[in-house]
């Protein structure tokens, strides 16, 4: 079967420029929404997965779900520290961080709003077991003082947060001595200080979480079993990566569900637009179709040519939308994570998978909009076509 040349198909799009631009423009907006939603949930996932280390384990009170709700007594912490399978450093110190996590309401930089920032009371070990956290300005806080270090997203998003400044929290002055980069992980949205100081000033008597590093990932199963088997402990044990993935689950689900259902609703509009355009294209070219058929092109060839035109429209719309969405990569946003009730900064992330999914979505819209008109074009009889022309 001889196919109608592609150049003929594509030139038709150019002939009716205004219509092509309007139809492809409508499609590109749908594609833009579709792509940004996927990029948003991809960005949140990226942030949360980067927060956890594969060989770190986090222990919380049973059923608490988040660090804020959790409470671990000092006696429980000591029991945990004695468990086998925990990494020791070159000095023989067990890599266990006892941490207190509190929320602090601070004013934002660019508006009059305030937002909750997670403040983590930790130790030098807490920094050591999270190698993704690197100081980019200033120095580490000195243990036993009210010095703090802040994540990059906090430094950017909140008022008065810069090196050397002090923050008023829980009735005390905290001096910012360092700013750290946590490689786009959730820690970028946190403030870190000395654990004992945090517990004292925030009047906490119990820890929020115990985080420790394993000697190797195989050590997790026995350690989890040991904790579960001890009826006195009543604790939940999770790999840090899984814990943070769960923390973002609700948020990504909400965004994906809302965004995808919107895209589907919007796509009806774009499909209708493509259909209108293609029906008109067929109607105004009836004479042409008859001529093509008379020249020996078969029904299928005509169908494919018109379908190709619709897909061409979708391709233009898809590329325009994707180009617009890729600009969004430069935008950083932060919003409330309902699971932790604190601010989380993340970005829109364009991955290959998102790109392919987006283009498939665009082409599917073109196919759905173009198939019926193309089918009709293929079904026209030669004689009728030529008579009408």
């Amino acid at each position: 079967m001889r196919a109608i040349p592609l150049s003929y198909v594509m030139r038709n799009l150019w002939v009716r420029r205004v219509t092509t631009v309007l139809t492809a423009g409508g499609m590109s907006l749908v594609v833009f929404v579709f792509a940004t939603v996927l990029m948003m949930s991809e960005g949140i996932k990226e942030t949360m997965v980067a927060t956890g280390q594969p060989d770190n384990v986090i222990v919380l009170r049973k059923g608490s779900g988040t660090e804020i709700n959790s409470a671990i007594l000092r006696a429980q912490a000591s029991n945990l520290e004695a468990l086998p399978g925990i990494m020791t450093d070159s000095q023989g110190v067990r890599q266990v961080a006892r941490e207190a996590v509190v929320l602090n309401n601070l004013p934002k930089r660019d508006s009059e709003d305030t937002a909750n920032v997670t403040m983590r009371g930790t130790s030098l070990i807490g920094l050591a077991i999270r190698p993704q956290v690197k100081l980019v300005q200033g120095r580490m806080f000195r243990p036993g003082t009210t010095e703090i270090i802040v994540g990059q997203a906090v430094a950017k998003g909140f008022a008065n947060v810069s090196l050397g400044n002090t923050l008023q929290m829980a009735g005390r002055e905290w001096t910012i001595v360092g700013i750290f980069d946590a490689k786009r992980s959730g820690f970028d949205s946190e403030i870190w200080g000395d654990n004992d100081q945090v517990m004292q000033s925030f009047r906490r008597t119990v820890y929020s979480a115990i985080v420790f590093k394993l000697t190797n990932t195989e050590a997790f199963a026995p350690i989890a079993k040991a904790i579960a088997d001890d009826p006195q402990l009543q604790l939940d044990v999770k790999l840090e990566q899984r814990f943070y993935a769960e923390q973002s689950e609700g948020m990504t689900k909400f965004i994906t569900l809302l965004g995808l259902s919107l895209s589907v609703i919007f796509s009806i509009g774009a499909i209708v637009g493509a259909m209108i355009t293609m029906f008109a294209a067929v109607a105004s070219r009836i004479g042409e179709i008859g001529t093509l058929r008379a020249l020996g092109f078969r029904r299928e060839a005509v169908l494919i040519a018109f379908l190709g035109e619709a897909l061409g429209l979708a391709l233009v719309g898809g590329l325009l939308g994707l180009a617009g969405a890729s600009v969004m990569q430069t935008v950083n946003i932060s919003t409330l994570n309902m699971a932790t009730f604190s601010e989380l900064a993340f970005r829109f992330k364009l991955t290959w998978v998102v790109g392919i999914e987006t283009m498939s979505f665009a082409l599917l819209m073109g196919f759905l909009g173009g198939f019926v008109p193309a089918w009709r074009a293929g079904q026209l009889s030669i004689i009728e076509c030529l008579r009408q022309a």
């Binding site: 205004v18 309007l22 059923g63 709700n69 509190v102 309401n105 305030t114 929290m169 029906f279």
Partner: protein, 386 residues
């Protein structure tokens, strides 16, 4: 009348195209309405506030505990009519998805400050007599098919353990803007559990104080007085009006709300492109017709009128159906989201915006073709036929 008939005939000359355009318009206008309703629902808590109530919370962050004895101190301030308090209970009913707000309230003082709750005296008395009793909102009771006398098992998150509560009353509200999904339990019950588990030092802690005031005009003065009272104490406070408090909570999700707003305008742009395309094609097809009209002596203005009229007619019909469709759509959405929204009503403002959006789409879509058609050269237009 003649013009109207002509417009109607013209609009439905190309039935399939007009129908498709309308379908697009209906989808767009109802989606626009739904999105606005979602944003409204977010702000519902703000709408249902009273200007004679203040909220006092810890200066550290929302939910950070304050000592309960603050209530007595606040009560002594001039202009304060009453003080009550609550703690967020959290908890999970079988699965996290079965979410509804659960709060521990001081049962002796709560309802005096919140007159918007309708509960019968018998049910209130039954609630007071049962330590594990709860008062439940009508919507939540309906959602789970619960009745007075049923028990609700919850597993604790903030307050660990397995809890059982007995429904002693179901409340309704006087105004649709108020929340009808709450579950209210005795604060004393959870306080005692904390005392038993963590000792007397950890007990007597409160999440929020609600302060009733006589004169709304003095709200800011009284707020400052309360905060001054506890300045430099172990637990400093921050007091604001109930409205400011609710706005603060909503603004935490501002990025998401802004995205939803932006997207609601995108859908209008999409349909604008589709509709403009339809009108351009219509005009192109009728080139010869318009040339004939002009040759017969009709002014360019008449052609413009024809095109705008047709575009507006399609926009009007599509828009009207779209507004009508918003209601079942909103209902369906509410069911799908497991009733996370306490108040979910399509407001009048939304409908007005929808109508305006439809009209704007109609006008803009006809602009370019109308301008072009009014300027066509009669001779060229007629040649087009031959």
């Amino acid at each position: 009348m003649f013009l109207f008939k002509l417009l109607l005939k013209n609009a439905f000359r190309h039935k399939l195209r007009t129908l498709l355009t309308m379908v697009g318009l209906i989808v767009a206008i109802s989606a626009f309405g739904l999105l606005r309703t979602i944003v409204d629902a977010w702000y519902a808590g703000v709408e249902g506030t009273s200007n004679t109530r203040l909220i006092t919370r810890s200066a550290i962050s929302l939910g950070y505990p304050l000592p309960v004895y603050y209530a007595d101190k606040i009560k002594k301030i001039d202009g304060v009519t009453g003080v009550t308090w609550m703690n967020w209970f959290g908890g999970i009913y079988i699965d996290r998805r079965n979410f509804f707000a659960r709060m521990a309230i001081d049962s002796n003082s709560y309802f005096e400050l919140f007159p918007e709750f309708n509960i019968s005296e018998e049910e209130k008395a039954a609630f007071m007599a049962d330590r594990q009793g709860v008062i439940l909102g009508r919507k939540t009771a309906q959602r789970f098919g619960w009745h007075v006398g049923d028990t609700i098992p919850l597993s604790g998150t903030i307050y660990p353990g397995n809890w059982t509560f007995n429904i002693r009353g179901i409340y309704t509200v006087k105004d649709a803007r108020f929340d009808e999904t709450l579950m209210l339990m005795h604060w004393n019950l959870i306080d005692q559990s904390v005392r038993k588990r963590l000792g007397p030092n950890a007990a007597n802690q409160v999440g929020l104080f609600m302060v009733g005031i006589k004169d709304p005009a003095r709200a800011s003065v009284i707020s400052q007085e309360i905060d001054k009272l506890f300045k430099n104490s172990v637990a400093e406070t921050r007091t604001e009006t109930e409205k400011a408090f609710q706005l603060g909570v909503v603004s935490m999700s501002r990025a998401i709300l802004m995205a939803i707003r932006a997207v609601s305008f995108v859908v209008i742009l999409i349909i604008m492109a589709v509709m403009a395309n339809t009108m351009t094609m219509t005009a192109r097809e009728r080139l010869a017709e318009y040339a004939t009209l002009k040759a017969l002596g009709f002014s360019p203005g008449f052609v413009v009128k024809l095109l705008f009229g047709e575009s507006m007619m399609i926009a009007f019909i599509g828009g009207a159906i779209g507004i009508g469709m918003t209601f079942p759509l909103a209902q369906g959405f509410l069911m799908q989201t497991n009733n996370v929204f306490k108040v979910f009503e399509v407001s009048q403002t939304t409908m007005i915006y929808q109508a305006i959006a439809a009209m704007i789409v109609g006008i803009i879509a006809a602009m370019w073709p109308a301008w072009k058609m009014s300027r066509i050269d009669i001779v060229q237009g007629l040649r087009h036929v031959a």
